[in-house]
Symmetry: C2
Subunit: 164 residues, 2 copies
C-alpha cells in the first residue's frame, strides 16, 4: 500500500487555498535550520516558522555531515543566510548507532558486499550538538561572523533547550 494517493489528495487541498505565490528564494529570516529527519519533529511548527522564512536541512541525527555542510554553504553564499540553528533531539535513533554494526546488519540482510559508511551515530546528545557546531565553525567555507546556536528538542514535551 503506497501513500501516493493520500499525499496527492492532501496536496490538492493545500494548493486550492495556496497564498504564497510570490515569495522570493532567499529566506526572509536569513536563517538555516539543521535538524534530524525524525517523524516526531516538525521544525516549522515547533519554531513558529512561516513559509519562506528559513532553509531546513534534515538528515539522520541532524548532523553536520559533508553534504549538510555543502547545503549550508549554498544557503549562505547563494541565498544570503547568516545564521544556523543546530537541533538534535531526545530518543533519537542515532544514539548508540555504530557504523560497523550497521554494515554487519546490511551485509546480513542483503547477502552482498556493503561498503563502509559513516552514518553519524553518537552517544552523548549535548556533545553531538556541540560537535556539529564546532564542525560548522571549522569549515573553510564558513564566514567568521556566522551566528550559530545549538539546541536539544524534547520529543515528549515539544520544548527546546539551548546547548552552550
Amino acid at each position: 500500500m503506497s501513500n501516493r494517493t493520500d499525499l496527492l489528495a492532501a496536496n490538492a487541498r493545500y494548493a486550492s487555498t495556496f497564498t504564497h505565490s510570490d515569495l522570493p528564494a532567499p529566506p526572509a529570516r536569513r536563517l538555516a535550520i539543521l535538524t534530524c529527519m525524525d517523524a516526531r519533529l516538525d521544525p516549522a511548527r515547533f519554531l513558529g516558522l512561516d513559509v519562506g522564512e528559513a532553509h531546513v536541512i534534515r538528515n539522520a541525527g541532524g548532523r553536520a555531515n559533508p553534504d549538510a555542510l555543502n547545503s549550508l554553504v549554498v544557503s549562505q553564499q547563494q541565498l544570503g543566510t547568516n545564521e544556523v540553528v543546530v537541533i538534535h533531539h531526545t530518543h533519537c535513533g542515532m544514539i548508540g548507532l555504530r557504523d560497523d554494526a550497521m554494515q554487519e546488519l546490511l551485509t546480513e540482510r542483503f547477502q552482498r558486499p556493503i561498503e563502509p559508511q559513516q552514518y553519524g551515530g553518537f552517544d552523548d546528545l549535548a556533545q553531538s550538538v556541540r560537535d556539529d557546531v564546532t564542525t560548522i565553525r571549522a569549515d573553510a567555507r564558513i564566514p567568521e561572523d556566522l551566528i550559530i546556536s545549538g539546541f536539544i528538542y524534547d520529543v515528549e514535551t515539544g520544548r527546546l533547550t539551548p546547548i552552550d
Copy 2:
C-alpha cells in the same frame, strides 16, 4: 540580529499546547520524504503529514547524495520505512549551479584554498528527479520492493506533479 529569542518564544507557545508526548520513533506511514531545503517548501503542510507520520530528509536540491542515501538506509533498516518520495521544485537555486563556479566564488570570497565539492546543481528539473530515483534504486543497501515516487512541487501554485 539573531533569531534565537523569537524562535525560543515561538517554541514556548508550541510546547504549552503540545499533544504528541507518546509517539513511537518509527514513522506511522512507513514513509520517507526527500526534498529541498528551500524556505518556500513546507512538506508537512503541502503533503498533509501530521507529526509522527514520515521521515523528512532535506538538502540543497533534495538530492540523493551520499549522506541522504545513508539517512534513507537508516530510515528503512532501523525505523521500518518502505517508501520514498523524492520532491524537487520549480525555481530551485540549484538549477544551473556549477561546482567549479561555486569553488571559484568561495576562493574569491574567503581568499584561501577551498577543496572541490559536489554541490548537487542540475539543469533539467524532471531529469534530476528521475536521476535521484535511479540513484536510490541502484544503491546496494536499498530493498528491491521499496516503493519510490518522484514529484515536482510548483512554488507558485503549491501543487505537486508526478514524474514518471
